[in-house]
């Protein structure tokens, strides 16, 4: 088995202009993401980033570790467990388990998981 024990980590700073750009990309202008005044008055108490923007970091961590061929039939399954706020610094990575699956995570600057789950990549034929 040639799987690496950990995934290379990637970082991402969450800023309002990035959230607006992601809203353009996914065509999702839910005010909880893009309207600070609306979001402040909502139960969330402020803007939260689109969850799938943070999920992109998981893929970047996988790709920072393995080439495209190893990801051709990759399998990723995650839960969004905490909201991501403007000003957060996110780090994504993963740790290999005994079952040849990575326990993947995206954490904020406080070390709190905002995403966790598992990922499997192709094992090479050695």
């Amino acid at each position: 088995m040639d799987l690496k024990p950990t995934l290379n980590m990637v970082e991402f700073d969450v800023q309002m202009d990035k959230i607006h750009l992601y809203a353009d990309i996914v065509d999702d202008y839910n005010p909880i993401h893009v309207d600070p005044e609306f979001a402040a008055a909502s139960p969330m108490g402020g803007v939260i980033a689109h969850g799938t923007m943070s999920l992109a970091l998981v893929w970047q961590s996988l790709r920072a570790t393995y080439d495209a061929e190893r990801l051709q039939d990759a399998d990723v399954s995650i839960r969004f467990v905490k909201p991501v706020r403007v000003g957060d610094t996110l780090t994504a990575g993963g740790d290999l388990g005994d079952d040849a699956e990575y326990r993947i995570w995206v954490r904020n600057q406080a070390g709190v998981d905002v995403i966790n789950g598992r990922a499997r990549v192709r094992q090479s034929n050695l």
């Binding site: 992601y22 990309i25 996914v26 799938t52 399998d75």
Partner: protein
């Protein structure tokens, strides 16, 4: 190409409208140069993937289809989980059509849950990735 199930005549799609096993519809998204430009502005390191689609954009294709097919939605839905399984390569310029099927629905602790299975195909009809969205539906 697009099709959409007529779910509710008035108002938003509710939890009661979901039927396990039922296709909710399909929608096509063009992985255009403009979309790619926006993406690599946000995630510059993903430029190295081109002309293949960065894997993180699987969410873009699925979420755009979801918002087109399942509309109008009630405010307050929560995207609780997501999975993807890659099965092929998508390249810049491709049109990818995603079909959404209600896999199952249930209630727990007073909340309405639904799992939506997604299948995304290229212009030739080949499956390029599949996935599942777990949602807490507001009403």
């Amino acid at each position: 190409m697009q099709s959409k199930a007529k779910i509710s005549l008035d108002g938003c799609i509710s939890h009661a409208d979901f039927e396990p096993g039922k296709s909710m519809g399909s929608a096509s998204v063009n992985l255009s140069d403009e979309l790619i430009d926006h993406w690599v502005t946000l995630f510059p390191s993903d430029r190295a993937c081109l002309p293949a689609m960065p894997q993180g954009m699987t969410s873009v294709l699925v979420m755009r289809a979801y918002m087109e097919i399942l509309s109008p939605r009630p405010p307050g839905n929560v995207h609780a989980g997501q999975s993807f399984r890659m099965q092929g390569t998508v390249n810049v310029g491709d049109h990818v059509t995603t079909e959404i099927v209600c896999e199952k629905k249930w209630q727990k602790n007073g909340r309405n849950w639904v799992e939506l299975a997604t299948t995304s195909r290229d212009g030739a009809g080949n499956t390029v990735f599949t996935g599942a969205m777990t949602m807490i539906w507001a009403v």
